[in-house]
C-alpha cells in the first residue's frame, strides 16, 4: 500500500531522517515509536507531502505523493492542531471535511453517530468553537475527521496523547474495528509503548532518523521495546 523508498531529509548539515526502505501492506496497522527527535512526525509530514524529502520518494497506493495530488482522495490524516479550523464549531468542521470527502448531511450525521461513545457528549451540540475546546477534545474531533469519507489510509500522529484513559481505550477499540477486515491501512505514532503494542500488527522504531527495529507484534514485543528504550 505504502512504499517508503530511500527517503531522507536534511536541514543544512543535519540529517533528521534517512530510511532505506519500508513497505507497508494493505490493511496493516503500522506503529511508529521513538524518542523525541527520532523523525516520526517528519516521516508523516513527508508522507503527506507537507515536507519535501531531500532524496527518495514515498509511494502511496501507486501514487508518488510529491508528484500527484491523487493520494488526497483516499488518505485521511490528523497530525496536530493545524489540521483543525479553530473558528468553526465541531459540527461545522465535520460538515466541511465531510463535504470535501463527498459526504452529504445525512451521511455525516450517520457517521458521527458511530462515535457517540468516543465523543462522550463533549464535542457535539456544545455551541463552542474548536479553539475553546480542551486539547483532548480537539484531538477527538481531529481524529474522527481523519476517518471521514472511507479513507483507505489513515495517518494519526500521537493520537493517544492528551486523551483521558477512557477515551484512550475507546480509541483503541475504534482502531481495531476499522482494521478488522484488513481493508484500511492505519499508521500511528506514539510515545506510549503499551498502546502501540496493543493495536499495531507491526512496529517500527526510529532513532535519530534511522530505522533501528522492525517488529511484527507478538506477546513479547512490549518487553522487547521496553528493554530497548530503558537505556
Amino acid at each position: 500500500m505504502i512504499t517508503i523508498n530511500k527517503v531522507s531529509k536534511k536541514y543544512g548539515q543535519e540529517e533528521v531522517l534517512n530510511i532505506d526502505k519500508i513497505e507497508i501492506l494493505k490493511g496493516q496497522t503500522f506503529g511508529l515509536v521513538g524518542n523525541n527527535g527520532a523523525g516520526k512526525t517528519t516521516l508523516f509530514n513527508v508522507l503527506l507531502d507537507l515536507i519535501q524529502p531531500s532524496s527518495g520518494e514515498i509511494i502511496n497506493n501507486d501514487i508518488i505523493v510529491n508528484k500527484s495530488e491523487k493520494w488526497k482522495t483516499f488518505t485521511g490524516s490528523f497530525i496536530d492542531e493545524s489540521f483543525l479550523i479553530d473558528y468553526l464549531t465541531p459540527e461545522e468542521y465535520f460538515e466541511f471535511i465531510g463535504n470535501l470527502r463527498g459526504m452529504n448531511k445525512a451521511d455525516i450525521t450517520a457517521f458521527l453517530i458511530l462515535f457517540n461513545d468516543f465523543f462522550n457528549n463533549e464535542i457535539l451540540g456544545k455551541k463552542k468553537y474548536l479553539r475553546d475546546l480542551s486539547k483532548g477534545n480537539q484531538k477527538k474531533a481531529g481524529i474522527v475527521a481523519a476517518m471521514m469519507g472511507n479513507p483507505q489510509v489513515i495517518i494519526l500522529d500521537e493520537p493517544f496523547a492528551n486523551l483521558d484513559p477512557t477515551t484512550q481505550i475507546r480509541l483503541k477499540e475504534i482502531i481495531k474495528n476499522i482494521t478488522n477486515n484488513k481493508e484500511i491501512t492505519v499508521l500511528i505514532s506514539s510515545h506510549d509503548l503499551n498502546h502501540v503494542t496493543e493495536v499495531c500488527d507491526r512496529i517500527v522504531v526510529l532513532e535519530k532518523g534511522l530505522l533501528v527495529k522492525d517488529i511484527n507484534t507478538s506477546p513479547e514485543t512490549l518487553k522487547e521495546l521496553e528493554h530497548y528504550f530503558s537505556i
Binding site: 503527506l48 507531502d49 507537507l50 515536507i51 519535501q52 495530488e69 488526497k72 482522495t73 488518505t75 490524516s77 497530525i79 496536530d80 493545524s82 489540521f83 483543525l84 479550523i85 479553530d86 473558528y87 468553526l88 464549531t89 459540527e91 461545522e92 460538515e95 466541511f96 471535511i97 463535504n99 470535501l100 470527502r101 463527498g102 455551541k127 463552542k128 468553537y129 475553546d132 469519507g149
Partner: protein, 281 residues
C-alpha cells in the same frame, strides 16, 4: 470641607475593593463565548467551492480583522461620493476620477485579497492534505473576491443619482477589479510568508504584512493610473476608460490561462509556505 471628598474616596475605594475581591479568580474572567451559528445553506448552489465559501463567510463573521476589512470595503463604496457628487469634475473629464472608480468597489479585493492564503495560515497543513486540489482552493478564493466585489457593485447603483457617467466609470473600475486585480492579488499571495493570528484586531496590527504588501498596494494604484494617463493624454479621456475595461475583460477571458500560472507558482512555493506558516510568532 475636606471631609466630603475624603468620605467619597473611601466609599469608592471600598466599593472597588469589594468588586475586585469577588472577581479575583481566574476562571471567572475567561467566560467562553458561545458560538453563533448561522445557516449558510444558500451557498450550496455554488457546488464544489461551497464549503470554502462557507468557511470564508464564517471567518469574516467571527474574526475582527476580516470583519473590519469587510466594513472598510463598504466604506469605500460611499467614499466615491466625495468625487462623484461634484458634477463639474465628471463633466470636465477630471483624470483622477479613474482612481475613484477603482476605489469604490475595490476595497475588498485589495484588503482581503492581499492576505490570501494567509487567512488560512493556521490550518494550512490541513488544507494541503484534504481531498481538494490546490487549483480548486485557489479558484474558491477567486470566486469569493468576485462575489463580494459584485455585491459592492450593486451597492454602488445609487451613483446613478449623480450621473450615468459616474456609474459607468464605476462599472469600468469594477470590471478591472474583478478581471485584473483579483488575479494579480492571487498571484502575489503566493509570496506571503507570514502567519496571521486571526484573533487580533486590524488597526495597529501588522501581522502578516511584509514589504510585498506595500509593493502590491502601490502597484495596484500606479499600474491602472499610468495606463489611463497614457491613453488620456494621447488619445482621449474615454479611451483611457476603455483600456482599463479592456484589461479587466482580458483577465476574465483568459482567466484559465492565468490561473494555470498562479497554480504553478503556488505549487512551486508550497513547502516554503507551509514551513513559514507553521512558525508561531
Amino acid at each position: 470641607m475636606f471631609l466630603i471628598p475624603a468620605v467619597i474616596t473611601l466609599l469608592f475605594y471600598y466599593a472597588n475593593f469589594r468588586m475586585l475581591r469577588t472577581r479575583i479568580y481566574l476562571d471567572n474572567s475567561t467566560t467562553v463565548k458561545k458560538a453563533n451559528t448561522t445557516n449558510l445553506s444558500f451557498t450550496e448552489k455554488l457546488g464544489d467551492i461551497a464549503p470554502f465559501i462557507k468557511n470564508d463567510i464564517r471567518l469574516i463573521q467571527r474574526n475582527k480583522r476580516a470583519k473590519t476589512i469587510l466594513l472598510i470595503s463598504i466604506v469605500h463604496v460611499f467614499f466615491g461620493v466625495v468625487f462623484f457628487k461634484d458634477s463639474s469634475l465628471v463633466n470636465n473629464e477630471f483624470p483622477f476620477l479613474v482612481f475613484a472608480s477603482l476605489f469604490v468597489t475595490g476595497g475588498f479585493i485589495q484588503n482581503y485579497g492581499q492576505f490570501i492564503p494567509t487567512w488560512d495560515s493556521q490550518h494550512f497543513n490541513m488544507l494541503m492534505t484534504q481531498n481538494i486540489s490546490y487549483r480548486k482552493y485557489l479558484e474558491s478564493k477567486w470566486y469569493l473576491m468576485v462575489i463580494v466585489t459584485c455585491l459592492l457593485y450593486f451597492m454602488s447603483i445609487p451613483y446613478l443619482y449623480f450621473s450615468l457617467n459616474s456609474f459607468l466609470m464605476i462599472s469600468v473600475g469594477t470590471l478591472f477589479n474583478i478581471g485584473f486585480n483579483s488575479l494579480v492579488l492571487l498571484y502575489f499571495g503566493s509570496f506571503n510568508r507570514k502567519r496571521l493570528n486571526l484573533n487580533n484586531g486590524l488597526f495597529g496590527n501588522s501581522q502578516g504584512t511584509g514589504i510585498i504588501q506595500y509593493l502590491i498596494q502601490a502597484l495596484l494604484i500606479v499600474l491602472p493610473m499610468s495606463l489611463f494617463f497614457i491613453f488620456d493624454k494621447f488619445i482621449g479621456y474615454n479611451s483611457g476608460f476603455i483600456v482599463i475595461a479592456l484589461a479587466g475583460a482580458i483577465g476574465l477571458i483568459f482567466k484559465n490561462y492565468f490561473m494555470n500560472l498562479i497554480e504553478n507558482k503556488y505549487k512551486k512555493d508550497k513547502y516554503i509556505m507551509i514551513n513559514a506558516f507553521n512558525k508561531e510568532m
